[in-house]
Subunit: 339 residues, 2 copies
């Protein structure tokens, strides 16, 4: 156990792409839990694209951080001290914690993780928020049917890799866009996608889709936006559904992004384009996690993690998301159980 | 009765905006009805924005015309001769007819119009395709609820004017964009809209909406597209619905139109954007026409027509649609009953 605490804070608001200057690592005392709070030692930290939004002052579904605020995100940790919380020392919990070695949090905002069910890191990936985002986005918004062609962007990422596999379980032909030949192999060989497209190897996404999705696109799960999405929209079939989950290619834009107008193409296709937030499905999180757990246990859903070692490297792990450096869920390993 | 026939044909495909050169008026014999066909004398001809699409060779939901083909569209006429059709001379019918004095058509493709119910021209407007488009687009796609703010573009046109009134009957606050102060008065004073915005009097559509739709936009019925739609999208509330009916501002574009990317804004709002075609609701046309007829009879829905006299002026009536010259349904009067 460390006798001091390290904590990342927002050093300044990024203009466009964040960099190391965006982050400041402060040394503090280990915090004391108040009544009803637990002191949690961070084991794994999740870095997610939506956090980019919280770094800006503008309107967003995620409240902006102020400069000097500690950064926060999904994290799995071990309860070290629980004054009035219903946890015991040694319990593994998941919650919205600081990017720090230690955080205090009200026991009501922590959820127990069963370490016998699956590796505890999965509570931040396939059995956590990204897995549930894929689950509800595919089943409730994109709605692939047997025989449909389903396309997903960011396909090798934490959400996309699960989304494609759930669509595959629905009987759809599944096509994924990813950013390297290694990722395409992961999609095709490990996850059972019907086709992967390395978007860094071509500029002609439309031609790539002509080959990978010869019957057009019935359901589209978009994590990326921009020119790939423009190409997918030109291939939408009648009654197509588009689930807008993320637009990572646009999050660092310094000017208001522009692109081809898509509304004219929606008329003849009668396509439906719908944004969604996983938190709207909170009453059904238990159901989703249970189902995902069964699929993982049976091997019907495979998952992969990219783990960066050390809290001090969390900014690099976060910045790497925008360079597509991760395969599967990007995590930061902050501590080991025996430390 | 004329002893020759005049017929408009597609003289050449327009590049961008069509003009008089797009049309050729040919003189032909009055056609002879074949078995099962009726000879119909045109009384009113409908000109509609979707016809622009049929003049181009590209993909569309409407099959393209070939150069030299007669132009066709919704028309009301009087049966002059019915070889084997189930109509009698003097019957008033509506169907998809040529832009001509006379057309032959299979009886199965004609629908009887009851001249005692309403003026026969309404079979092309409030009680015809435009009215039904408004009916299904509002009730099945945009779905305004009591207390919602509903915005419609092309609000003084054949579809928009009915759409706004149906939304008003649903208990929504109704705001319409139209292209002149006269049209805004029509919306506010004659149709009972809560606010009209003359989009030709301002470039700052967002500021106009701040005033006319202070609580944001819950349902949007879009006939126009382009910069007005861009502004409306910035005002969408959580769970907003967008019904994409038409995009008239883009139909004459010679380059692929571009604009601000809208998908990022759909995530936090969870908004749904959906294109629709009225023909998908064909099994329910009877129900819609009956309901619209009741609303017109009770005065709950008002309608207006802009009538251009003379078949020879049909091209001007069509071209005027893109200049916003009409209030309500734009028709061409081709013949009188006593001629």
């Amino acid at each position: 156990m460390r006798d001091t605490n390290r904590q990342f804070r927002l050093a300044k608001r990024p203009e466009g792409k964040p960099d190391r200057e965006t982050f400041e690592l402060a040394e503090t005392d280990v915090p004391e839990p108040g009544p009803g709070e637990a002191l949690v030692r961070t084991r794994y930290l999740s870095v997610d694209p939506y956090m980019r939004d919280r770094m800006s002052a503008g309107e967003s579904y995620a409240d902006p951080w102020d400069v000097g605020d500690p950064l926060r995100g999904g994290a799995v940790g071990e309860v070290v001290d629980s004054s009035g919380a219903e946890f015991e020392g040694g319990d593994i919990v998941v919650g919205n914690l600081e990017w720090a070695d230690y955080t205090t949090a009200p026991g009501t905002e922590l959820t127990a993780v069963d370490p016998d069910l699956a590796p505890i890191s999965t509570a931040l990936g396939v059995l956590g928020m990204p897995g549930r985002t894929a689950y509800f986005g595919v089943r409730e918004v994109a709605e692939p049917k047997p025989g449909d062609t389903f396309v997903v962007t960011g396909a090798a990422g934490a959400v996309g890799s699960v989304a494609g596999q759930i669509a595959k379980l629905s009987g759809a032909r599944v096509v994924g866009f990813a950013g390297s030949d290694e990722k395409v192999s992961f999609l095709e060989d490990d996850l059972g996608f019907d086709a992967g497209i390395n978007y860094k190897a071509t500029d002609d996404y439309r031609a790539a889709l002509d080959e990978a999705a010869p019957d057009g696109v019935d359901a589209y799960f978009d994590n990326v936006g921009g020119p790939i999405t423009d190409a997918v929209f030109t291939k939408l079939n009648v009654d197509a559904r588009v689930a807008v989950c993320g637009q990572i290619s646009l999050y660092n834009a310094t000017e208001r992004p522009t692109g081809p107008r898509k509304l004219p193409g929606l008329i003849s296709t009668r396509a439906r384009v719908e944004g969604f937030l996983v938190r709207d499905f909170a009453p059904r999180f238990g159901q989703a996690t249970k189902r995902l757990g069964e699929w993982v246990a049976s091997g019907e859903i495979e998952y992969r993690e990219t783990i960066t070692e050390g809290l001090e490297n969390a900014p690099d792990a976060f910045l790497g998301l925008f360079e597509g450096e991760n395969i599967g869920k990007q995590l930061v390993k902050v501590s080991d159980p025996d430390e």
